[in-house]
C-alpha cells in the first residue's frame, strides 16, 4: 500500500552539511506518526525517483543548499526542463519533469524544504550554523506534517525563518 505522503531527504551523511536532508528525516522518524508518511533517503536525485512520486497526495523534498539565504526556505516545485546538466545528480524540478514525460500527467503537489548549508567536505561533521538551521527546519517540518494538506502547505510558502 503506497502511503499518501512522501518525505524525501537526500544528501551524504559523511559530507559535512550535505547531511542536513537525511538528518531531518531521522528527526521525523523519531518524532512523527508514520502511518501515512513514507520516508525516503538517497545520496542524490536520479531519473528513477520520478517513479517514487506515483500515487502520492503530497511530496516534500528536503535538501541542503548553499544558495539558501535564510536558515531554511520552503517553496512549491514546478516541473522544469533542466538545462543545466551539472553532475549525475538532478534537481527536484527535473525529476518532476521526468515524471510528467513518462506519465503524461502532472506530478502530485511537490514542495522543497531547503536548509542552508556552509561546508560540504568529505569526513566533516555538521557545521555549527547548519546545526542551528537544522533545528529550525525540524520544527517547521513537524508543523507541516502535523497538517499535511495542500492548502495549509501552500500558505507556508516563502515564509522563511
Amino acid at each position: 500500500m503506497i502511503k499518501p505522503i512522501l518525505v524525501f531527504g537526500y544528501g551524504n551523511l559523511s559530507r559535512g552539511d550535505d547531511a542536513l536532508g537525511p538528518l531531518l528525516l531521522e528527526h521525523i522518524e523519531g518524532h512523527c506518526c508514520l502511518d501515512d508518511i513514507e520516508l525516503l533517503n538517497d545520496f542524490q536525485l536520479q531519473i528513477e525517483h520520478a517513479l517514487d512520486l506515483e500515487n502520492r497526495a503530497l511530496v516534500l523534498f528536503i535538501d541542503a543548499s548553499v544558495a539558501c539565504e535564510d536558515a531554511f526556505d520552503f517553496a512549491l516545485l514546478e516541473p522544469a526542463r533542466d538545462k543545466s546538466y551539472t553532475t549525475h545528480a538532478m534537481s527536484p524540478a527535473a525529476v518532476l519533469a521526468v515524471y510528467q514525460s513518462i506519465k503524461n500527467q502532472a506530478p502530485p503537489p511537490c514542495f522543497l524544504l531547503s536548509i542552508k548549508a556552509e561546508k560540504l567536505e568529505l569526513g566533516e561533521g555538521l557545521s555549527a550554523q547548519a546545526s542551528g538551521n537544522l533545528e529550525l527546519a525540524c520544527a517547521f517540518a513537524m508543523q507541516l506534517l502535523k497538517k499535511p494538506d495542500l492548502k495549509t502547505w501552500q500558505k507556508q510558502i516563502n515564509q522563511p525563518s
Partner: protein
C-alpha cells in the same frame, strides 16, 4: 598520439580557453586549451579536481566499519566501494575469495550485477543518449534526458525502468536502497527470500529484452557513421581489467590481465594482491590526479584504459549467450584485434548491460541465493587487497590494520584515475582534429565533453551543491584581453558577453 599537446612552448603568447566545469560527469573537472593567433590548439589538458582525502577518511577507523563507511565516498557507485572494501576485509579475517561460502559469493555477484546494470543504464540513457541521438553539436536545450523523453518516449522510459530495476536488485540483496550492509567480513548478512526472488524474476525478461534492444540501437548509431565514430577521440592504448581463469569477462573476481594496442598480452592471471609489483602511480606538477602505469612498460608507454571498452577488448568470451553474440559482433566491426574507438565505450557498456541482465536471471534461478550458509572466518591477517570491476573500471582497495583492528594505511586506485592519461589524450585528439583553427562555440566545445563523457568519469564528489555549478568559457587574446565570454548560469540560462 597527441602528447606534444600536453605542454605548449611560449605559453605567454597563447590565448587561453577554459571549459569549467565539464558537465554531466560526476564531480568537478575542467579543460584548458591554449590557442595561437590562428586558433590552432597548442596545449590541451583535462584537470580533475580529485579529492585525495579518501585515505584520510578511512585511516583510524576499525575495519568492520568500512563496508558501510566507504559507500559514502561516492553517491554514484557506493556498491562498488562496498564490495571492493568487503573483499579486502575478507582477507583481514583470513578468508580468501575461494573460501567464501557459495551463497555469499553468489549474492555479492547478484548485488554487483544490479549495480553495474543501473549505473550503465544511467550513463547511456541519461548522460550520453542526448549527444548520440541529437548530435554532438546540437542545441544545448536538446542535450538532456527530458529532451530524450520527449523525442523518444519509449527509449526514455526504458532507461528509467532499467535504472529502477538495478536499484531494486540492490534493495532486495542489501535490504536498503542505500547504506546497505549486505557484505560483511567473510560473507553476507542475509540471503534472498523466495518472495524477494520472485519479485525480481517478474521483470527480468523485460530487462533482458530492453538491454538487447539498446545494443541494437547503439550498433546502429555507431555504424551509421562508422568513419566518424571510429575516429572521434580515438587513441591506441593498453587495456587493463580482471578476467576469469579461462579468459572470460569477469566483473567480480578474477586475475589481472593487460593487453597492448595490438592485442598482445602484457600480463595475465596476475594475483591482484600483488598489484603494487605491476602498477605504479606517477605525479605530475599541473594536476592533483595521479597517472597510473604498468611498471613493465614504463611511464611513457605503460598507461592504460579500464572500463567497459577495456573489459570487452581484453576478454576472450562472455558466459551469457546474448552478450557473447553481441561481443563477437562488436569485435567483428573492427579490422584490428582491439577496438580503440573511444565512442565504442558506449557500445561495450551496453553489451555489459545485457550481460548483467542475463546474469541476474541466471542467479535468480539459482537456489544458492536463498541458502543459509552465509559467513565464514579464518585467522586474522594485517593486510588485505580487494579489487573488482566497477562500472567505470578496475577499482582497488588496499588496507593495513594494527593489533586493535584499526586501519593504519589505506590506498585506493579508482577507475577514473586509471583513465586519467587516456582522457587527457582523447581531449587532445579532439582539440587537434576537431577544434583547431575554428572559431570556438559552445556546441563545438561540447565535443570535448563528449570525449570525456564516453569514459563515464566519476570525479569523486558526491555532493550536489545547487547553485555552484556554472559554466564559464573565456577567450583571451595574446595581450591578455578578454575577447569572448560565454556564461552558463546555474539555472541553465546561457549568456554571451562578447567583445566588451
Amino acid at each position: 598520439m597527441y602528447e606534444h599537446l600536453e605542454t605548449a612552448k611560449n605559453q605567454e603568447n597563447l590565448k587561453r580557453v577554459v571549459v569549467d566545469p565539464v558537465s554531466r560527469v560526476e564531480g568537478h573537472g575542467k579543460v584548458t586549451l591554449l590557442l595561437d593567433a590562428d586558433n590552432k590548439v597548442q596545449q590541451a589538458r583535462l584537470h580533475i579536481v580529485e579529492f585525495r582525502g579518501f585515505e584520510r577518511f578511512i585511516q583510524g577507523r576499525p575495519y568492520w566499519e568500512l563496508p558501510v563507511l566507504v559507500q559514502r565516498l561516492c553517491g554514484i557507485c557506493p556498491v562498488s566501494h562496498h564490495l571492493a572494501a568487503a573483499k579486502a576485509i575478507d582477507q583481514l579475517v583470513g578468508v580468501d575469495p575461494e573460501n567464501l561460502p557459495v551463497s555469499a559469493d553468489k549474492l555479492r555477484r547478484l548485488l554487483h550485477f544490479g549495480q553495474v546494470l543501473q549505473s550503465h543504464a544511467l550513463h547511456f540513457f541519461h548522460l550520453s543518449s542526448p549527444d548520440l541521438l541529437f548530435g554532438f553539436e546540437s542545441d544545448i536545450s536538446k542535450r538532456s534526458i527530458i529532451a530524450v523523453l520527449a523525442a523518444y518516449p519509449d527509449l526514455g522510459l526504458q532507461g528509467v525502468k532499467l535504472r529502477k530495476y538495478g536499484q531494486e536488485v540492490i534493495r532486495m540483496v542489501s535490504g536498503k536502497r542505500i547504506h546497505g550492509t549486505s557484505a560483511i567480513p567473510g560473507g553476507v548478512n542475509k540471503s534472498l527470500t523466495k518472495a524477494e526472488r520472485d519479485y525480481l524474476l517478474e521483470d527480468i525478461d523485460q530487462m533482458i529484452a530492453w538491454s538487447s534492444a539498446s545494443v541494437t540501437l547503439i550498433k546502429k548509431v555507431h555504424c551509421s557513421n562508422l568513419p566518424y565514430y571510429d575516429d572521434f577521440a580515438t587513441i591506441r592504448t593498453n587495456y587493463l581489467g580482471l578476467t576469469k581463469p579461462d579468459g572470460g569477462l569477469e566483473l567480480y573476481h578474477g586475475g589481472l590481465r593487460a593487453k597492448n594496442a595490438e592485442g598482445e598480452t602484457i600480463m595475465d592471471h596476475v594475483d591482484y594482491g600483488q598489484y603494487n609489483d605491476y602498477i605504479h602511480e606517477e605525479v605530475r606538477s599541473w594536476t592533483y590526479m595521479k597517472f597510473p602505469y604498468l611498471l613493465s612498460m614504463g611511464k611513457e608507454n605503460g598507461w592504460y584504459r579500464v572500463g567497459p571498452l577495456a573489459r570487452i577488448n581484453n576478454c576472450d568470451s562472455i558466459n551469457t549467450p546474448l552478450a557473447e553474440a553481441a561481443r563477437v559482433d562488436f569485435k567483428a566491426h573492427s579490422k584490428e584485434a582491439m577496438v580503440h574507438s573511444t565512442l565504442a565505450f558506449h557500445w561495450a557498456r551496453l553489451i555489459e548491460i545485457l550481460h548483467c541482465a542475463e546474469s541476474i536471471k541466471l542467479l535468480l534461478n539459482d537456489p544458492d541465493i536463498m541458502g543459509h550458509d552465509l559467513v565464514t572466518q579464518g585467522e586474522k591477517r594485517f593486510e588485505g587487497v580487494g579489487v573488482i570491476e566497477a562500472p567505470r573500471g578496475t577499482l582497488f582497495h588496499h588496507y593495513q590494520v594494527d593489533e586493535n583492528d584499526i586501519v593504519t594505511k589505506a590506498n585506493l586506485i579508482v577507475s577514473t584515475t586509471s583513465n586519467n592519461m587516456a582522457m587527457n589524450e582523447s581531449v587532445r585528439q579532439v582539440a587537434a582534429e576537431y577544434l583547431s583553427g575554428r572559431e570556438l562555440t559552445e556546441p563545438l566545445l561540447n565535443n570535448l565533453e563528449v570525449a570525456i563523457r564516453a569514459y563515464d568519469p566519476c570525479l569523486s564528489c558526491a555532493t550536489h551543491a545547487m547553485g555552484k555549478m556554472p559554466l564559464q568559457l573565456e577567450l583571451i587574446d595574446v595581450e591578455g584581453k578578454l575577447i569572448d565570454k560565454l556564461v552558463k548560469h546555474s539555472s541553465g540560462h546561457i549568456e554571451r558577453l562578447a567583445n566588451d
